[in-house]
């Protein structure tokens, strides 16, 4: 069953447009959403949440239209942006008091337990918290109403590896329940390599691929050598080519290439760089 299903989503702005975005996030999986700054990740996420109004296309969450059933759907969604968008004179305690009235399933003990675990003082104002603390508070708020779907837009940007590790642990625990789903946009692709089941790559407003992570990392490979040596590679194997200071690199499809060529497993980051900067042969 799909948690999020998007078909032919279009949204245009004066200088930028999302074109024909389609992908599915299956229930019980984590989708990593990657792409350059300005490629359309946040725009897509905001369209899903109806914070931005789509021009056309179909978006369904838990099988319901995202606009018609908006209020009902949102009971089950937790959202974390790359900042904490609350008036900064509010304290954690005050936020709890009104969020408590917003969600039917709000769980005050869980909220305070998370704050305790993160060592956040609930009587501190938002403006007195460090960036890491703000993000942890934002995540605690998103968790406290027992959502089924988490939508995360760069939640770990600017955080140090230790804090990121703590946060990823929390997401992994959340995913122990088979009914839970995460859509996770991030620039730190090593985080996604740890947690994502599928990767969707958006570039200049269009989807380049939406694929199982393991398929991506095992089907593709990187070959390095001199331009001369590259002539030996079979044409159909080469997906993209990059010429660097130290020689030529090619992104190849493993199945078209004989074992004698020295190749290595790509990272998501390398795949992104090849697909945006590499030349097509």
């Amino acid at each position: 069953m799909t948690a999020i299903s998007i078909r032919n989503l279009h949204k245009s702005f004066p200088a930028f447009a999302l074109r024909n975005i389609s992908f599915d996030v299956q229930k019980g999986t984590v989708m990593g959403f990657v792409g350059e700054n300005g490629a359309g990740k946040s725009t897509t996420i905001k369209c899903i949440l109806n914070v931005l109004k789509k021009d056309r296309g179909l978006i369904e969450i838990f099988g319901h239209d995202h606009v018609e059933e908006e209020v009902k759907i949102k009971e089950d969604i937790g959202v974390v942006y790359d900042d904490l968008p609350f008036p900064e004179m509010l304290t954690g305690k005050e936020i709890e008091k009104f969020m408590h009235k917003l969600y039917k399933k709000w769980d005050s003990p869980l909220f305070y337990q998370l704050l305790n675990q993160f060592k956040i003082d609930p009587s501190k104002k938002v403006k007195e918290l460090s960036r890491g603390m703000k993000m942890k508070l934002s995540i605690s708020i998103a968790f406290a109403h027992h959502p089924k779907l988490l939508i995360l837009d760069e939640p770990t940007s600017g955080l140090d590896p230790i804090v990121r590790d703590e946060i990823l642990d929390l997401f992994l625990t959340f995913m122990q329940d088979d009914n839970h789903t995460i859509l996770f946009s991030s620039h730190i692709t090593s985080d996604l390599e740890k947690i994502a089941d599928t990767i969707t790559f958006i570039h200049e407003g269009e989807i380049v691929f939406s694929e199982n992570k393991d398929v991506l990392l095992y089907d593709y490979a990187i070959w390095k050598g001199s331009p001369d040596e590259m002539k030996d590679l079979p044409e159909e194997a080469i997906v993209r080519v990059r010429k660097g200071v130290f020689g030529t690199e090619a992104l190849v499809r493993k199945k078209y290439i004989s074992r004698i060529f020295p190749i290595k497993r790509p990272t998501i980051e390398e795949l992104m760089v090849f697909f945006t900067k590499g030349e097509i042969r």
């Binding site: 905001k46 949440l49 109806n50 914070v51 931005l52 109004k53 908006e70 209020v71 009902k72 949102k74 009971e75 969604i77 959202v79 942006y81 900042d83 968008p85 609350f86 008036p87 900064e88 004179m89 509010l90 005050e94 936020i95 008091k97 009104f98 969020m99 408590h100 009235k101 917003l102 969600y103 039917k104 938002v126 939508i151």
Partner: protein, 211 residues
């Protein structure tokens, strides 16, 4: 909806604290210089201004992009701002009126009727100001919106001088004091109509707004 009002009240709490000190100061003035009604007027207008402040806070913290992920309809988000408006204007009047009346027991400088009619007029003015400003702030944002509001408030005040002059020239006279008083009592109720219209306009603006 109560949740969203609560959020705004928490957010402007800091402002309210300083407002209380300011009002205490005014109360002292009122006591020594016998200006009770002025204090009530100030309080009501101050309450109304807080609604505008809450919009500024929302904008600064980019609240709306989060507010719209909550299980609340856009209509209710707007309704909460109007409820907040009523709460703050009426609330500050309700808290201060008894105090001022208490002072007046000592001074006996105005009748309770006079205070009441003044209260009616000032609440009506506050409602009118909010009816205009909320849709404007939603449409143009708090930066441009504020400039626009200055224009909306000052131009009529500026021209009212001319108008009274013309009225005399064309021998239109103001109605008698008695009628004005009657009108004054009715003013807040009349002003509920623009406020309701304003809500509909705001809800329309907000329903297609993007963040």
């Amino acid at each position: 909806m109560i949740a969203l009002i609560l959020k705004d009240l928490y957010a402007i709490k800091g402002q309210m604290k300083s407002a209380v000190y300011l009002l205490l100061f005014f109360m002292l003035l009122a006591f020594f210089f016998d200006m009770g009604p002025v204090v009530v007027m100030c309080a009501v207008l101050f309450g109304a201004l807080q609604v505008i402040t809450s919009f500024t806070f929302d904008e600064m913290s980019k609240w709306d992009k989060y507010g719209l992920t909550l299980p609340v309809s856009r209509r209710k988000i707007i309704a909460s701002k109007y409820a907040l408006s009523l709460l703050l204007t009426m609330g500050s009047a309700l808290i201060l009126t008894p105090l001022v009346l208490l002072f007046n027991l000592y001074f006996k400088s105005f009748s309770a009727n006079e205070l009441f009619s003044m209260l009616c007029v000032i609440s009506a003015a506050a409602f009118l100001m909010l009816s205009v400003s909320i849709p404007v702030l939603l449409k143009f944002g708090t930066q441009k919106g504020r400039l626009f509001l200055f224009a909306v408030v000052f131009i009529p005040v500026f021209f009212s001088g001319f108008i009274s002059e013309y009225m005399e020239r064309f021998s239109i006279y103001l109605p008698s004091l008695q009628t004005i008083k009657l009108l004054a009592y009715g003013a807040p109720f009349f002003m509920l109509i623009p406020l309701a219209l304003s809500y509909l306009v705001s809800a329309k603006i907000y329903s297609s707004k993007e963040f």
